[in-house]
């Protein structure tokens, strides 16, 4: 009886930890969409909302770390329970980075609002934002459902995101070369694209944590990587 009591209090602790993580993930998801909306519509009010949400996201990470620390110290979890706790901590740190990136996107709203618009870059960036948002949603679903196959799909989708980034990068280069007055705006837009590509890397890392949690195996480096801009010699 006593053991059962302890075990169900433990289950509640674990559940609470995962609820915090889902809350954090949900906020990051909506922030990605808000930050993109703010950028596209030069909506500074929405940009401040993203800024405020990032603070909540940071607090949630802190709360998760403390709750996880308490679980480890008080309940001494082992095997798959311990793996769950450590995985939640790692995922929350990936989510926190994504939150930082969206805050950084939103910060550029004001700057871009005062620049020559580079309309052609909009659709590419919007596509990237939508893709990374959907990847994050799937990664969180994969975690909750302990679905390694879904997580595996996300790893492959990151490749598409990298391709989208390459396309935006080339487009921006072309605009800058055509007219040097586009350079400053394009540098900002490039930042934005690169941040989205990096968010994709963090979402992929979340997916890899899920695979590890479910299968106990690391996915290795088989992941395709299509950001080729480091090798670009477009002159």
């Amino acid at each position: 009886m006593q053991e059962r009591h302890i075990s169900s209090a433990f289950d509640r602790d674990l559940e609470q930890l995962q609820i915090l993580l889902m809350k954090m993930g949900g906020l990051v998801e909506s922030s990605i969409s808000d930050a993109t909306g703010a950028l596209m519509n030069a909506d500074e009010e929405l940009a401040s909302k993203v800024h405020a949400t990032d603070e909540t996201i940071d607090q949630l990470e802190e709360e998760i770390n403390q709750h996880a620390g308490r679980i480890i110290a008080l309940r001494s979890p082992v095997a798959s329970d311990l793996r769950t706790v450590l995985t939640v901590m790692k995922i929350s740190s990936n989510l926190e980075r994504c939150g930082d990136y969206t805050k950084n996107l939103a910060k550029r709203t004001t700057a871009l609002a005062h620049m020559r618009p580079v309309d052609e870059a909009g659709p590419g960036l919007r596509r990237m934002a939508r893709e990374v948002g959907m990847m994050l949603k799937s990664a969180l679903d994969a975690f909750i459902q302990r679905d390694a196959d879904l997580a595996e799909e996300i790893r492959l989708r990151d490749d598409d995101l990298d391709r989208m980034y390459n396309a935006v990068f080339r487009e921006l280069l072309t605009h800058m070369m055509e007219d040097p007055r586009n350079i400053t705006a394009c540098m900002h837009l490039h930042f934005i694209a690169k941040n989205m590509e990096r968010m994709g890397d963090h979402v992929t890392s979340i997916a890899e944590q899920v695979i590890y949690l479910v299968t106990g195996e690391r996915s290795g480096d088989a992941r395709p990587k299509s950001d080729r801009t480091a090798f670009d010699v477009t002159e």
Copy 2:
């Protein structure tokens, strides 16, 4: 007697964990310097060395995670010991990101070797690399010596690094506007500068972990942040 025996085996485990972390940190330090050397001297051999070292860095992170997981599962550490284990895991994840950034720097060696040189950007980037390397060294020292004051200094130094980045960013903008043939090379150089600035953020995060480990308190957001490029409207 039994307890003593257990406790000293535990101490050895903790020590081993920290040795792994220092090894990982040392490799990241030398990679930063190698990657910069490779870039500046178009040394592709040195660039491949950085690539190979990044694999070792990744393996070390994995080893640290496993070792930490074993300590938690087998020894049920509490209080400051648990904090040490969790801090090591967090620091190793920051180090792994820094390793990724240096690999990314090194990857650009080949591309840049085939481009119009932008000589003026060299000194600024070299200064940034030196600064981030020294910051990392201090952060690892602060961890080993549990020196919160030294860690606090690093947080402030990150501000200098941000200023250096701003200077490089402006310089690159000017070069691009002066001559569009510089654009591609400058985009690569800008990536490099941004990656160094981000490494600074990770080193700062390591310093903050050390402060937390020593004082039990989070340093909050009092950290100065001098990357103002998101607000730049230089046209």
